[in-house]
Amino acid sequence: MNTRYLPLVGFGLVAALLAFGIHYMRNNSMNEVPSPLIGKAAPAFDLPLLNDPGKRLSNADLAGKPYLLNVFASWCFACRDEHPILMSEGRKLGIPIIGFNYKDEAADATRWLQQFGDPYSVVIADRDGRIAIDFGVYGAPESFLVDGKGIIRYKRIGAITPEILAFELKPRLAAMQGENP
């Protein structure tokens, strides 16, 4: 065996590893923490409505039909980028979009929805963020697709873009509706 080329081969391997690392980092955001809740039941919640704190919404009220839970806040800039897509495409999804107002002042959130529009069927408010911890939320926006059995099927960390809507959300929704007649 000719060992003269061994250092070159070693260098080649290290260079390939580095190239793979750079390529991988470009395509996969390292900030996204994969959720262990996918495929499991959505955590139990019972939260007051934003516009009517006397009323509450819980898992039981939503049982039997799929829904999209969208975590947003008036202090969240990326939510503003996401908002027009929810406004224009949200209703076409055919499932209710539940607004999950995360660690926000009720007055701020209400004003925000008046200013940018309200794409939600109903908005629940998690003032202290306790329920958000159960959902593994660590920022906003985040979205959870929950099926009729209350199982989380998909989680989007960050804004819903037209690409995410077309290639991630809609196919999963179609698959879910196929299995639940």
Partner: protein, 151 residues
């Protein structure tokens, strides 16, 4: 000797502020620890947990809002008598293994834990082979020993 030193007051104020900094840092969230041991257990535990927002920081160090909430949650569960393992399970059930700085040892993480050892063993094997080959060559050529000394 008696002339005024206008900077002295400012210097003193800065010194006092600098000395107070650790106290101020402690006051980020003053949790009511019942004794030193409990505080140490809390510090030790939150240092092993990663802040999800600033992912290079531990829960103990991060000033992110969520880190504060999670510190309160950890403290609350300690008060309820939960063990460190139970608290870690609570967090991994929600945020995955990512919250742990030390990943658990299981099928998917074997390479992560023992990969460095494997590389070390491969290196040792290579060095052993090279040394043995040289040892075979050197007795036949006595001049090799003298040339080695020149180095």
């Amino acid at each position: 000797m008696s002339h005024a030193r206008p900077f002295r007051g400012i210097f003193t104020a800065l010194l006092v502020l600098a000395l107070l900094l650790p106290v101020l840092a402690q006051a980020i969230d003053a949790l009511p620890f019942k004794d030193r041991a409990e505080e140490q257990r809390f510090q030790n535990l939150t240092r092993q947990l990663r802040c999800l927002v600033c992912q290079n920081e531990s829960l103990a160090d991060s000033s992110a809002d969520l880190a504060k909430d999670l510190r309160e949650e950890v403290f609350g569960q300690m008060k309820q008598g939960k063990s460190d393992i139970e608290i870690k399970q609570y967090l991994t059930a929600r945020y995955g293994d990512f919250v742990l700085y030390n990943p658990p040892l299981r099928g998917g993480t074997v390479l992560l834990w023992f990969g460095p050892l494997l590389v070390l063993l491969i290196g040792a094997g290579i060095v052993y082979r090279i040394v043995r080959r040289r040892a075979k060559v050197s007795p036949a050529t006595p001049s090799a020993a003298s040339s080695e000394e020149d180095w």
